[in-house]
Every structure is written in C-alpha cells, then in structure tokens.
Symmetry: none
Subunit: 358 residues, 4 copies
Amino acid sequence: MKMSDETSVSELRAQVDEINMQLLDLLTRRAKTVSEIGKLHTSMGVSHYDPSREAEMLTALERANKGPFSNETIKALFREIFRASLEMEETQARAKIRVQRHSPDERTVIRMPDGYEIGAGGFSVIAGSCAVENYDQIDQVGAALSARGVKIMRGMAFKPRTSPYEFQGLGEAGLQIARQVADKYNMYVVSEIMDLSQIPMMLDYVDVFWVGARNMQNSFLLKAMGKIDRPVILKNGLAATMEEFLYAAEYIVSSGNPNVMLIMRGIRTYEKWTRNTLDMGTIAVLKQECHLPVIVDISHSAGRRDIAKPMARAARALGADGLMVEVHPNPPVAMSDAKQQLTIPEFNTMMDEIVQMA
Amino acid sequence: MKMSDETSVSELRAQVDEINMQLLDLLTRRAKTVSEIGKLHTSMGVSHYDPSREAEMLTALERANKGPFSNETIKALFREIFRASLEMEETQARAKIRVQRHSPDERTVIRMPDGYEIGAGGFSVIAGSCAVENYDQIDQVGAALSARGVKIMRGMAFKPRTSPYEFQGLGEAGLQIARQVADKYNMYVVSEIMDLSQIPMMLDYVDVFWVGARNMQNSFLLKAMGKIDRPVILKNGLAATMEEFLYAAEYIVSSGNPNVMLIMRGIRTYEKWTRNTLDMGTIAVLKQECHLPVIVDISHSAGRRDIAKPMARAARALGADGLMVEVHPNPPVAMSDAKQQLTIPEFNTMMDEIVQMA
Amino acid sequence: MKMSDETSVSELRAQVDEINMQLLDLLTRRAKTVSEIGKLHTSMGVSHYDPSREAEMLTALERANKGPFSNETIKALFREIFRASLEMEETQARAKIRVQRHSPDERTVIRMPDGYEIGAGGFSVIAGSCAVENYDQIDQVGAALSARGVKIMRGMAFKPRTSPYEFQGLGEAGLQIARQVADKYNMYVVSEIMDLSQIPMMLDYVDVFWVGARNMQNSFLLKAMGKIDRPVILKNGLAATMEEFLYAAEYIVSSGNPNVMLIMRGIRTYEKWTRNTLDMGTIAVLKQECHLPVIVDISHSAGRRDIAKPMARAARALGADGLMVEVHPNPPVAMSDAKQQLTIPEFNTMMDEIVQMA
Amino acid sequence: MKMSDETSVSELRAQVDEINMQLLDLLTRRAKTVSEIGKLHTSMGVSHYDPSREAEMLTALERANKGPFSNETIKALFREIFRASLEMEETQARAKIRVQRHSPDERTVIRMPDGYEIGAGGFSVIAGSCAVENYDQIDQVGAALSARGVKIMRGMAFKPRTSPYEFQGLGEAGLQIARQVADKYNMYVVSEIMDLSQIPMMLDYVDVFWVGARNMQNSFLLKAMGKIDRPVILKNGLAATMEEFLYAAEYIVSSGNPNVMLIMRGIRTYEKWTRNTLDMGTIAVLKQECHLPVIVDISHSAGRRDIAKPMARAARALGADGLMVEVHPNPPVAMSDAKQQLTIPEFNTMMDEIVQMA
C-alpha cells in the first residue's frame, strides 16, 4: 500500500461526495416535479400510478445508458426512484416505521388497569400452562403463579395444531376457566386469538390478546388487533426474519394500537437439541432497534425444561423486558408440550434464580 | 482353522437363529400390547409419546442389565424399539389420513365445470400476473394464456405483504377485472383468500380458491375451505415441513372438501441464488405419498425468470401434475415480483419447451 | 379535466425526462469514479465494502436533504446506489473467476484416457457402493455397472464419519480392491481423499479424486488438488451456498487443474422427508453460470432409494451432465448408507428410465 | 377419560414391562453367543463382520414376521442388534463417549504453564484481532488486552477464506509477530491450524491450537490434534448440529488429548440481523452434557460490534466458561471482519460490563 494510492483514494472519494450532492439535488428537483404532476392528476381524478409511463422512461434510460452500470442495474435504480416518488406521494404522512426506536430512552410501556407495567425497566414473568385442560389444573397453576407475583397468566383455549386430529383446545369453556382463576388470584388473562371473528367473544374474557407464530403474517388479523383497546403480544413466526417480525408489529401499531409486546421463541433450523433456535444476538438487536417490550419465550425456544434457569438468566442479561414460561402441575400428562412445561417446584426455583439477579 | 471350530460356529449360529425368532416373537407381542395402549390413549385424547414413561422403562432395564452389553447399548437398542413402536402407532394413525395415497392408481382429479381436469395424468399450466393491477394488463395476459390453452388464470387481488406500506392489491375491484377477462377468454379465476370473512364476496368471482404460504397453518381458514364447493390450491408455508403441509391439506379435506391441490414453492434457507429452496426429492416423495394433484410454482421458488425452462422441464420429469408461473406484460414495472414474472414471449418459449416434452 | 392541465402534465413530464437523463449521467460518472477506487483498493488488498464510509456519506446526505423526500427515503435510495456500485465491482471481480461461464458454448469437458468424456453433452452415470467392504461386494457391483456402460466406479476406502467409533473405511486395502475390480471391468476408480498427505499413495490407485462435503472449504486440500493431473470431483459442503461452492472450485482451478466436476448433494435444512434439500433452481443456475460439468448426487440428496427414478429424470431435465448413485448387492447389511443404496435390480431399472429419456 | 381406561393402561404397561425384561434376557443371551462365535472367528483368523450371514438372518426374520411391525421395521431393529453386537466386540473398551459429563462436578480444566486456568469456574476472555496484519496492530491490541488481564491472545496467521483471491493471512511471519507480542505482554498465543502438515512449524509459536469451523469434521486433523500436548480450541462447524460438534471433540479426546475447549459461534440460518444464529439453549445444554470448557464467540456469532455488551453478559449468564472477542485498533480498515471487531475503547467498555457481573 503506497502513499500515492491513499492520496488517490482520498481525491476520488471527494469527487464521489460531490456527485452525491448533485444527485441529491436532482432527486429533490425530480421529486418536486413529480409531486406537481401528482397534484394535477389528483385534480384530474387520475391514478398516480401509471405503469406505461414508467415503461417509457425505462426504455429511454436503457437506450441512453452506455455503462458501466448494466441496463438491469439502471432499471432497478430508477424503479427505486419511481417507487420512492410514488410512496412519497401516497404515504408522506405515515412515512416512518412506528415501531422503530429513535433514542435509547424511547420505550413503549404497557400499563395494565391496576398500574402493573411491562417495559418500564423491570423484568416481567408471564406464565401458565400450555393449554387450559380443566379448572383444577389452572387453579393450581394460578395459585403458584400469583404467590410469586406473576400478573399475566396464560389462558390458552384455542390451540393451533399441526394435525387436525390433535387436541385443539377447550374453546370458550377454557376461557371461562381462565377468567375465573385469574379473577380469584387477581391476575390478567392472556390468550391466543386465531381468527378475527373471535374478537367480540374474546373481549369478554381476555385482558391481553396473543397472536401466535402461525399468524404472525396474517395481515387481516394484525390489522384487526390494531383496532382493539387491549394490549397484544405478537410472537415471531416459526421461520420469520427479524425484519418481517417488526413489520408484522407495524401492521398492528399503524392500525391504531400502540400497546404491542414482542415475544421471541426462536426459529426453525436443523439443530435438534432444542426445539427452536433462539439467537442471542437478535434479542440484543431487537432491544436496540425497537421501543416495544421484548419477552423471551424460554419454553417454546428450548422445548425442554432442564435449562429453564440458564435461559431465564440469559434473557435478563440480554436486556429483555421479561420472559414467558409454561408451568403445569403434572407435565408428563399434559395434553400438549409435555416435554417443556415446568413443574410448580421447578417454576419456583427458576423464580428464585431471577430474583437473585435483580 | 480346525474342523471342530467350524462345527462349533455352526452350532452357535443355530442358537443365534433360535434366539432371533424368540426376539421376533417378543417384539411382536410387545408391539401388540403397545398398540392397545395407543388405542386407549387415542380414546383418552392423550399423546402417544410419553417421555417420562420411556425414562422409567430405561431406568428399570439399566438396573436389570448385567452385561455383556453396556447400559449405553441396551438403552440405545430399547430406544430403537420404543421408536419403532411409536412409528408403528403413528403409521397406523396416518393410515387414516385422508390425503395419503394407498396405491399408485389412487389419485384425486380436480374437474372444472367444463370438464377440464387437473391431476388426471396431464400437465396443467396455471398462470397469470402476480397481482391484478389494471384491466389492460390482465387482458393482455389473458389473451396470451388462452392462446396457449391455459385454463386457470391468476386473478390476485389481495396481496399478503411483509410491510403494511407495500401494495396490498386492488381488492374486490381486482376480482372484477379478473372475472371479466377470464369470462372473455373462457378461463377460470384462481385468487388468494386471506381471511374467512372474504368467502361470501369471493364466491361471486372466484372459481378456485388459493390459500397462500402465510396462511398454510391458519386452521380456521383451512376448515372454512373445507366447507366450500370449489377447488382449493394450498401452498406450502415458507418454512413448513412436508409433514406439516400434508396435515394442512388434511384440515381442508377432513372438513369436507376433497378438491385440494398442493402447490410447492420451496422453503426458506440460507441459499441466495434462488428465492426459495425447492427440494427435488420432496416433490417426488409427495407424488408417491399423497393422491392430491401437485403443482410446482416455478416463479416463487426460483425468484428469477432466467431458469423458467429447466424448472418447467424438471417439474414435469418429477411427475408433478402441473406448474404455476407468473406472467406480466412488462415485468420491470410490475407492482410486485418484478424479478420473477415472465414476459409474454418468455412464457411462450416456456410453453414450447413443455409441449416438446409431452 | 381541463386541457391546460394536460398540457402542464406534458411539460412537467418533459422536465422529468430531462432530469432522468441528468441522473443517468451522474450515476454513470459516480460508477466510474467508484470503479477507480475499487481498482486501487484491489491493488491495496482492501475490501471493497466499507460500511463506515457509507455511514459518513449517508450522514452528509441527511444533513443536506431539505425534502420533499424524507431522510429515510434519501438514505434508502442512496443505499441502493451504493449497493449497485458494489455489485458492479463484484461483477467485475467475478468476471475474472475462472469457473464462470461466459457463453452457452463454453464448457469444460473431462476426458478420460480412453476417450470417455463427461460434460460434452451426454449424461454420465457415476456409481458404486458407498464404501468398499470386501472384494465380492465390489466385484458384483462392478459387473453390474460395467454391463450398463458405467465407466467411473466409486471405490471409497476412507470414510468421513461423524463419530470416531463408526466404520472409517478399509483404507489402502479398499483401494486395492477397487483398482482390481475396475481393471477387470475396464472402468475408472473415483475415491475420496481426506488429507493432502494421502496424495502420493492414492495416485497409485485412483483415476478421479473426490473431495467430499466436509472438505469443500479445506483450502489446503483444494490447492493441492490443483497440482495433480487427474480430474477432481468436488462436492458441495453440507450447508454451503452456491457462491461458496464456486469459490471452492476456483481454489482448485486457479491452482492449476482445470478438470473439475461439481457434484450436488443438496444442503442441510429442517425438512425430514429427504436427507438433504436439493434445490432444483440452483442446479439450473449452476449450469448457466459455470462451465464445469455438474453431476447430481441422487443418493445423498434423497437419502432413500424409493425415488431414484424421478430424481434421475429430473437431473437430466435440469441439464445436468450426469448423476451419481450408490449401488450395493445387499443394502440392508451395508456398513454405511443402508437406506439409500440401490440394489442391483433397482439400479438397472433406473438405467432403463434414463435411457428412455435420451 | 374413564377410570377403567386408566386401569387398562396400567395393566398393559405392566405387561410391557415384563416383555422388556424378557427382551433384555434374550438380548443378553444373544450377545454372549455372538461373543463366543467372535472368539472362535478370532482364533480362526476370520473377520467378525459377515454381511452374507446377516442377510440370511434378515431373510429368515422377514419370512417369519407376521406383523404388526412391518418387515422394514423388523429389519431395521435387527440391524441395530447386529450392529450392537459388532460394536460390543470391537469397541468394548472404548464404549463410552469421553467428552460426556456424568455429574455436575465433572469438569475439564485447561491449565496453562503459568497456572492460568480455563474451565475452573471463572470467566475467561480470549481476544485479539481477526488476523495478524502487522506488528504495530498486534502490539497495540496486545497492550490493551494485557492491561485488562487477558491471557490468551489471537494470533491468526492462516485465514480460511471463501475466495482464493481474498487475504489468506501472513503465514509464518504472522506467527512470529504474535509470538513476539505475546512474550512482551506475558500472554499466550492461540492460532488456527488448517492442515496437519503445519503442526511441527506451529509448535514453535503457538500455545493453543485452534481448529476452525471449516475443519470441524476434518477427522485427520482432529486425530492429529489428539497427538499434541497443547490445548485445542474447537469451533463448531458453520451448520453443525451439537451432536456432531461433540463427536468432533471426541475425535481429539479419544486420540489422546483431553485438553479441548469448545467455542460456539452459532450456525447458518436465513436470519440477516446477525451473521450467525447462536442458540441460547444449546449453550445451556452443552454445559450440562459435556465437561469441556465452553467459550462463546461473540464476534462471529453477532457479526456486528454494537451488541458486544449484551452478548458478553448473556454468555456469562448462560454458564459459559468464557468468551472470545475480536479487537482491532481501527476496525474499518481491517483486512477481514471489519464490521465485527471491537475498537480498543469498545473492548474496555465490554470488560467493565463483565467485571460488574462477577
């Protein structure tokens, strides 16, 4: 690496900087002109989007292009410019992604009616059985949870299952049980919604709505969740990227409901020691990039109960706002997730561990 | 090597042969007993797989084992026996799965009102633009498709998109366009349904319902698809296993609608040359294991238009019942999937290729 | 809609057209300058991608931007421009990659001493047992293969195994057997090399060297393969991207040996119906982008023998130059890969199928 | 669920328990008989493995089998029994996996010549630049590391790279620099070995050998690492399962070198926010199942420097024995891994964070 090479790089970079500014200037002028056309179109009652006009412009550019960019590249770049103009016109108001964090202080805090908060800096435990099976089971679990200060209890009554022949949940009867137990122990019920037609019925029983992994990209349901006035927990899809996860949350928030929590259960890979692969790094990045509370699902990620303690410690160490854990009075006979639900004593041990870290 | 040694070997081998038969007898008796337990469990609604029971049995065997096999080996062998029993039960359970093929001749044939058949041994091409954008676009595509004998045209008006700010489709207005064009060219409309509340409206426009990748495990929608009297195309989820895919189809079929086609678009992996990874092997196995027609989506799998010809050839060679391909009059200005839609001339070239193989 | 409005639209559109051309001009100048920087960076041995430089430029643009485009949009557009420049540089860099195909006619043909060719347009079958176990086994297989015109026989004597306690191959004794049988039936031996120290010994027995999936990125071995004068078969790594695969081949070719064949066995995913996931699309793209012969490994991809016929047909339909299949006189007792090796009759049936396609 | 059903299950389970014991008895008798045959074979100089004998037995069993197990299942089970017998004979001595933990107290402690220990309960930081580029760079980093008590410094001189045209490391000259700096600051050098032919040369410079992700299943190299008297750090392969990772370590340990550390860098998936996906759960399970020290690579997993602090905290919270982090005086100009190497001030901040947790 010679000195002269470094000098040349500096000089060339200065040229690029100047071209950048000229490009910015041209793009700005272009945007203003397109905006004026848009206004005329609006007054003329004509759609802003005109594919044949775009095709003409692309053809002209292709003809004029002499390289070094390929025609493909030039067309791709101008398509981005066209799209940006279109978006500018159509979405100038909503241009920003609402769930994105702009400063370390920006945080969405979920406030429950009694003042309990998630996302305010504490570490919340959401817990309960995989599914409501009967009153006794939920009552035992509810007693154990409330004794440790848990405020939000799973009351799952509709179970999304791979096979139509597997246990599909108790339905509304399950919600009644959950509501009864939650009221008895002064807790809130979180329960999974599977179709937007369930909203009116579920509003009678449920304090926090849960959108599961299989519905993470069900945009009709997400938009409907944006119209209710209860908090929503959104779980990442079984193979969703983090970007897709944030956009799914954006569907809810941009539809009107800011009270969204994100729950991380990992993604599907080829590893078999755990049920899902829960990337440490994405939790850390998520806390950095998004102001919504982040909950770590230590049950569906691990898929096994023997590592609950280190999982809980790590969730806290990563800066998550809480964890979700499944608890069952007798896991081996549970109707689902037998391998991963904690016994009540195991739950208590895990809680001791968390308290110790505080 | 002495004669007596050889004699001894023969005698010992005869003993082993006898032990083998006794083992076979015991394994058979064990299998029958486990099968009875399985039936009771099924009637009790309990999972067949019970890890704590297995742990107990292994502990008992370990205690009883005096060698020469190590405890490790004994446990490994019995784990194989447990697994075989579980598989037997699962096989028996699957034997009742409606979508499973029991003989090479068993095939579901989708018959359209005019007698057009999919799954009867021919190779069907389903085609059309990614989304309905305007009448002219669909009219151009419709003319080109019908000229090549395509009977089922995409008329997508509701687009599931990652971001709420992306083009979400024209809605019912798009369905009207699709219907008009399909009627003009004597074709059928297939269109994606995104929520079960759309069924009544869509029944006015749509001949074949399409359940997309994001909804493959939306069991409420699947069950609703089981109640309509139109054929359904079901797409594999973006990271679904084949087993999950078949169970999703089973939701529809077991709810009452046998006219289901499976469309394969590959799965999400880390490979970047193609948009999705479409495993050759799973298509071959799917045709072997399931009697429903299998369509290969050469557009969303490849995510690029330059390999349409070899993809089409391979789909046919694998025994698929047809392919799905996106066609657009001017792909670079398409509002979605610009990189993968074929131009009309490219579509024609691909059709020539398929015809040549017949 | 007034006439004057239409006139205004025309005038404004003319302005946009002019701005487009100015943008094209600036983008071209920018591309050339960046390209010069790229050349200097290459000579300095520095990566072309410099995120901190990009961050600086984006910050400057953000500061200068006064709307109407939002900062988000401006940053997005410039990120596209940066990406296009980077791709252009990478495309220029790749233009020098030796294994890349520049025209449809460009093809590497592997010529064996007796004139047998792979990659010249025919469809070659490479076959044999997973491992050499004893003389009789290889002799039976050799007889069957040569009867069907197979010229290159597997003679695997060093087996890469997950566990140190699994069968590791017969070693040099296995190579002797393979050589003897190959000579008897006038075939060639292909055998896996696991460490470069084996080269001198293996040169005595082996006609074609095989670099396995676990060694695809063993650059010392790859470079050593570039120094021998025998053809090399390179298998894709178990989770390698296609780009990595091509670069691995480039290690061999750029070290001096142009006679490289690529063998595709799929990649590791979460799908369980097949052993590996073999993307149809990547085979098609590979044939398009690279002039080396491409062989499809229908045994390790499928991991099962029941779909050998459709796999073979699809390999041919995709334009591959051949396939690799495992054959064993008695698969259930094979020391490895018992589930996927074909019996000799199954092999014959598969050959009939291929011949029919020709 | 009726009481009578539960009773029946209990009774049937008792029958299964009895059959299990009879199976154990038969398997034991079979093992003893086979063992006698083995001894005769040994005295006769005949191989223990006789595939035709196995084929005969399988055919007899198949003929005798009347279900409910399929013939496939019966053959698979007996193949396991045959294999168990064979393994018993051949490996009775080495039957146990050496790297497996049998009690929570069992731990391998790596002791360096000056008494520094890894795996004894503390939290070790291994750090240094991605690659040795020049003396000044390593000297700056070495000074910073030693100031914070780091004892093991990266001195990477051979870089495994995807492309043959990327920077491949300084080679032996790089090792000399690393050795010099390590001696100056009283540290140890860890450096990656890429081929077993490098061992003699590297023994002159390197205190701890590093086997990289691309070589995790290079069994020849692993066995050679078992013959040296220096500690070895083994990194998980880029898409290795945890089971494969443990078997790779077993290759080294069973070849004679117990001083192995495992380093976790995550696996390849489709997620793009991080470079690799590092499953929290597998780290916890690894600590539970294996007595070797576990180091978390927070650089190659995250692939970005902005989450070093939460990654470090989580590694410690999961019970790992240490972490590995890349540090560079000026990351943007680093010849590799520019995005993920920490600056020296960032490294110091991360160290403060760890110290705080202790």
